[in-house]
Subunit: 253 residues, 2 copies
Amino acid sequence: MSGRLFVVGTGPGAPGQMTPEAREAISAATHLFGYKPYLDRLDLRADQQAVASDNREELARAGAALDMAAEGETAAMVSGGDAGVFAMAAAVCEAIDKGPAAWREVELIVVPGVTAMLAVAARVGAPLGNDFCAISLSDNLKPWDVIEKRLRLAAEAGFAIALYNPISKARPHQLGEAFNILRAVLPMEIPVVFGRAAGRPDERITMTTLDGARPEMADMATCIIIGNVHTRIVERGERPALLYTPRSVPAHG
Amino acid sequence: MSGRLFVVGTGPGAPGQMTPEAREAISAATHLFGYKPYLDRLDLRADQQAVASDNREELARAGAALDMAAEGETAAMVSGGDAGVFAMAAAVCEAIDKGPAAWREVELIVVPGVTAMLAVAARVGAPLGNDFCAISLSDNLKPWDVIEKRLRLAAEAGFAIALYNPISKARPHQLGEAFNILRAVLPMEIPVVFGRAAGRPDERITMTTLDGARPEMADMATCIIIGNVHTRIVERGERPALLYTPRSVPAHG
């Protein structure tokens, strides 16, 4: 008899931002798969087994979890943030699409979570308060010219833009190029937020402008939000400034 | 002494999808403001006061909550989903931006939540597994031609598209027009998901194609996800079909 596979979004990292549903799924699993830093955040019981894998072995990890579930076990694939946003749910679906028939019989339950851009946005106000998009800058799996095109069209559309996977040791140059593409379309004074580890003890939130945005302000754990031309900064004296994108767009657009 | 205002995203509606942080914020508040259906979902204590208001009075509601907090109380503004996605966080920031100086002294805490598109995506697989955008179809606060332009550019960019506020009694025609705009750019066979009340007892998830998408399939509580040209359907016999947008984009884009 086939078992179950939970694909779980555990939220940005603060325990208070993980849903009860995610906590229950993790508790129900006998075998937990995922990138080691996400597994390390969990308080597993002695009867639960953690199977850590490298960040770039997603399809193999999905296959291992599906094998376990196909044997009748209850497995969980653990993602940070939301499982469906630049995370493991798509890799698991792809593995099922391309894999053996037995994997299609597994009961698959995707558990959503608070994705990074929502946590970062909350820390500064409401920069995603109007239409927005989310773009991964990783060109491991898609050509860079597709990313360039999406950045350009997103800016022309007037979306606030959340950038995931902005930089890594293997990809040091993409983020600077991305800012240059946006600078060619958008005004220099548009607010930009670098949100690292939002809600966690090592949180670091930096507000700047498109003009002042530098790749060195980001690392792998950073989500960057670029406002649109209407995004406003509200100074509040001793309290931190607020950043929000108004719900309304003037008639001249 | 100025008090606190929490702006709380309570998630899609299932109790298991509300974060502990959101639950704590609601518990801490003496006065809770919001659209009545969201307030009705909460188990308030006898010493807590609910102040319900109409869906279209957002700035006035924000002002009432800020007044209460400025008097030293702990208030909470309750949103469904995430507070920052087409919800109350932007209205509260705008009220502070335009309002009296006392409102800037209020301690403002935005609590993020699982937004509707993530809950809907999780129910069908991973349709938001690559770059995506979120667009509100409401033209109460922005001109329809801005919405048309954003839809067209989003389709050209190859984003999966989540549509919020797709239809209402006052706006019966926008959704059909939106589908027509997308049909002019995208192939007819692109998968479309209508997700109503995801995770709640009255959940209704409908999968169709851009060709088959009809405005009657949506109501105010529906979030619609339109895939991109690479989005795939995985048939699984007796189990519901999966829908996912691959993490990879081929070199020819």
